[in-house]
Symmetry: C2
Subunit: 429 residues, 2 copies
C-alpha cells in the first residue's frame, strides 16, 4: 500500500458521522502508528443536509455511492448503511472487485453474505473487516482470530444485544412493564424509533452468533435458525418472580459444538443473580469463550453506540494500514467446511414455567399430570392466588427436560381449558 491512503465513508448516520470525525482528528496518531497518511476523499449518505453532530465536508459528497468507485481512486471503503442486501451489498461487492479494502459494522450483511464476500475479498487480495459487527467496542473477533488463534474453542456465549439487556435491566430496576421501558429505550437512542423488532425478537443477536460460530469453529456461516426467541413476551411479573428465586432474566446468544454438530440459539434465560453473566447490566455486552488450553476467557464492554462502534472500525483500519492482509474468517474459504446442524429438539434445559389459570379445584393436578406424561419432573412449585380475578399464577421450576418434550408440554398446556393466558416458558442457563 502507498503511503497516502484514500478513504470513502458510505452512510453518515450516528456511527458514520462519529467515525468521520475520528478519521479527521486522528490522522497524526494513525500516521505515527502505521506510517500511512489517510485522507477521506469521498462520502455518501441518503440525506446531504441532515443535521449531524459533526459537520461534513460537502465538497466530497456523492449522492450515489456507486459513482465513487468510478470517479475516485479509493483504497479503503467503510460501508455503514447497514442493510443485509440492496445498496449495502452492491457497494461492498463492487469495492472488493475493484481491489478496495472494505470495513463494515454490518452484521446483517456479513451473517447473510459473509461466505461469498470473504471469498471475493480473498480472490482480490484485499481485506474485508467486520470487527464492529459483533459486540461493539469489544474486540472479540480479533481475539478469536488472533489472540486465541490456536485454541480449540468449543463454546461461545454471551449478552450480545445491548438494547434487550438495557430493557431487561431497567424493567427490574424500575418495576415497570415492557412497553414503557421500550419507549424509554427509544427516547434514549438505545432502541430504534421506527422498527425495534430486529433487536427485540433475537434476530440481531442471532446474526452475531452466526458470525461468532463461523470464526470460533472454522465453519461456513450456518443458514439455519436453530432456536430464536426474543424478549417481547417477557413480563415484569416474570422478572419479579425470577428475582425472588434468586435469578435474573437475560437474553443470551449461545453457540457450541455438540458431538461435532453446531448448536446455535438465542433465547431469554434465567441466570443466577450471583453469576458473572447475571451482573452484566444495562447496555453492556459480554462474551465468554471456552477453549483449550486457554480455559474460560471473558470480554466485557460497551456493545453499541457510535463511540464503541467507531473504536472497532478504527481498529480494522489500523490492521489494514499495518499491511496485515488476512483471511476474513481467519483461514482460507476452501478450508472452512459446512457445519452439520445439531437437532435442537434433543437439547435439554431446566424450565421456568408460569401458568395463569382459573382458581378452581383440580387445576394443579391436571397440570402436574401433563408434566408427568411428558416425563418432566418438578423441582419446585409456587402457587400465587389472585382472589379478585378468581385466578392463580402457578410457577414451576423443572429438572432438566428434553426440548421436544417441553414443546409437547406447552402444546398440551395451551389446549387446557383452565389456562387464562398463553403459558410462559423460560429456559434456565
Amino acid at each position: 500500500m502507498k503511503n497516502k491512503v484514500n478513504i470513502a465513508v458510505i452512510g453518515l448516520g450516528h456511527v458514520g458521522n462519529y467515525l468521520l470525525n475520528e478519521l479527521n482528528t486522528k490522522k497524526k496518531d494513525i500516521e505515527q502508528k502505521t506510517g500511512k497518511r489517510i485522507n477521506v476523499v469521498a462520502i455518501s449518505a441518503k440525506n446531504k443536509n441532515k443535521k449531524r453532530k459533526f459537520k461534513i465536508n460537502k465538497s466530497i459528497y456523492f449522492s450515489n455511492p456507486l459513482d465513487i468507485i468510478k470517479k475516485k481512486k479509493i483504497d479503503i471503503l467503510f460501508e455503514i448503511i447497514g442493510m443485509s442486501d440492496g445498496i449495502s451489498k452492491k457497494i461492498v461487492e463492487l469495492s472488493l472487485k475493484n481491489k478496495i479494502h472494505v470495513i463494515t459494522p454490518n452484521k446483517a450483511l456479513i451473517s447473510k453474505h459473509g461466505d461469498y464476500l470473504s471469498k471475493l475479498a480473498e480472490k482480490n487480495k484485499v481485506n474485508l473487516e467486520f470487527e464492529a459487527s459483533v459486540a461493539g467496542g469489544i474486540p472479540i473477533l480479533r481475539t478469536i482470530k488472533e489472540g486465541l488463534a490456536t485454541n480449540k474453542l468449543y463454546k461461545v456465549y454471551g449478552i450480545l444485544n445491548g438494547t434487550c439487556n438495557y430493557i431487561l435491566s431497567e424493567m427490574e430496576k424500575t418495576k415497570d412493564n415492557f412497553i414503557n421501558v421500550l419507549k424509554k429505550a427509544q427516547n434514549l437512542g438505545y432502541a430504534e424509533q421506527g422498527n425495534p423488532k430486529l433487536d427485540l425478537n433475537g434476530y440481531d443477536a442471532f446474526a452475531k452468533i452466526r458470525i461468532l460460530s463461523s470464526l470460533a469453529f472454522n465453519k461456513k456461516i450456518s443458514k439455519k435458525n436453530c432456536l430464536m426467541e426474543g424478549i417481547e413476551n417477557i413480563d415484569y411479573k416474570d422478572i419479579d418472580i425470577a428475582s425472588q428465586l434468586n435469578f435474573r432474566i437475560k437474553l443470551l446468544g449461545i453457540t457450541e459444538m455438540v458431538n461435532g454438530k453446531l448448536f446455535e440459539r438465542v433465547h431469554p434465560c434465567l441466570v443466577k443473580k450471583d453469576s458473572y453473566i447475571g451482573n452484566v447490566n444495562g447496555v453492556m455486552n459480554a462474551v465468554i469463550v471456552h477453549g483449550k488450553p486457554v480455559g474460560e476467557s471473558v470480554l466485557q464492554g460497551e456493545g453499541a453506540g457510535p463511540g464503541a462502534t467507531s473504536s472497532a472500525l478504527m481498529s480494522d483500519l489500523l490492521s489494514i494500514l499495518r499491511g496485515n492482509i488476512k483471511h476474513p474468517f481467519g483461514l482460507h474459504n476452501n478450508k472452512r467446511k459446512k457445519a452439520l446442524i445439531y437437532n435442537q429438539k434433543n437439547s435439554s434445559n431446566s424450565l421456568y414455567l408460569r401458568l395463569e389459570v382459573k382458581d378452581k379445584p383440580g387445576v394443579l393436578s391436571e397440570i402436574t399430570k401433563l408434566l408427568a406424561n411428558n416425563k418432566i419432573s418438578i423441582e419446585r412449585v409456587i402457587q400465587i392466588p389472585d382472589h379478585k380475578k378468581k385466578s392463580a399464577s402457578i410457577v414451576i421450576i423443572t429438572h432438566k427436560a428434553v426440548e421436544f418434550r417441553s414443546q409437547n408440554l406447552i402444546n398440551g398446556l395451551k389446549k387446557n381449558k383452565n389456562m387464562i393466558k398463553k403459558p410462559i416458558l423460560i429456559r434456565l442457563f
Copy 2:
C-alpha cells in the same frame, strides 16, 4: 518468510514443555491458518534428562542455547527461561541481531530491557512478541495494540498476579492464615517452591504494569517504582474485618495518566464485595481498560499456568507467521517518549487502618488526635476488645487522605507507646 519455518525453544520447564507439545501437535492447524509449515529444529534446557510431562526429542537438544544460533538456521525463537538478565537477555539479543523473531513470556526481561530490545528488533526488521508476559491467556497486549488501537486510553488496572489472588481468595474461604495458604499454593504449583517472594511482594505485578503503561500510553518503560506493596503482611484478621464491612482485599496493579504524568502502583486494596473486581477470585486475572471513545472494557481469564501461557505464545507465533511485522510497542521506538512521573505523595485514598493497642483509657483519644493533626477525617471506627490479652483492635475507615499525610500518620502511630504491633494500612479502591 519462506513456507518452511524453523523454530527453537529455549527453556523446557512446565511452560516450555507444554508449548513444545502444542507446536508438535498443531502443525496442521497452523499450516491451514497461515500457509506455513513449522518445524522445531532445536531445543535447550538446563537439564536434558529431567522428568517432563511430554517427551522431548533429545536428538535436537543443545546444552548451550547460544550454540543453536551458530549451528542451525532458526527463523523464530521462544525464550522461556525467565530471567531479567543473564542467558535470557543474551539469547534474545543474539537472536534479534541475527534477524530471528523472538517470542517470550518473560515479563522481568521485557519490563527491564524492553526499550532496548524492541529497538534492536525494529533495526533488524524482526518481531519481538511478549503477549504471554502479562495476564497469561488474556490477549490484553494485542487488544491494546490492535483492538483498541486508536482509543485514547487513560487508565488500566486489574488483578495481574494469580498467585496473590489465589492466596487472598483462599484465606477468605478457609479462614486460614497467610503461611498455611502459601504452603497450599506452593503444593498446588500456584506459587514457586523456592522463592515465591517476587510474586508476593508485588514485583511481578509491577513488571506487568510497566509493560501495560508503556503500551497503553505510548511511553518508554518507566524505571521508577512509584508505590509497590505486596500481600505478605495481610492477616486473616484484616480479611475478616473487611468482609464484615462488605469489602474484599485484592492486590491491584493500577496505571493511569494524571495531568500528563504517569502514576503506576501495585498494592493491596479494599474493593467492594459487589463490584466486578471484587468477584474475580482464585487464580483468575482481570484487566480493566478505560478509554475514549470505547468506554470501559473488561478482559478476564486464566492468568497463569502452562495452558494459558502457551495460548498466548501460540498467538504470537501465528501473528509472525501471518507476516504481521509490527513495532513491539505498537509504534516506532523514537515516537515513544519518556514519561514524566507523578509524585505519588500527592495521590489520595480512603484508608483502612487496623491498630493493635493496649486496652487502657485515652488511647483512642491519642489516635484520633494524630489523625486530626494530619488533617485526616474519620468515616467510621470500630473497637474490638480482647479482654484476655488486655488489648484492643481499633479499625478506622477514613475519608480521602493525601498520601504524604497518611505516611506521616503511620510514622506517628509507630512511635506511639500504646501500639502493640505495627499499624496496618490498606488503601480503599
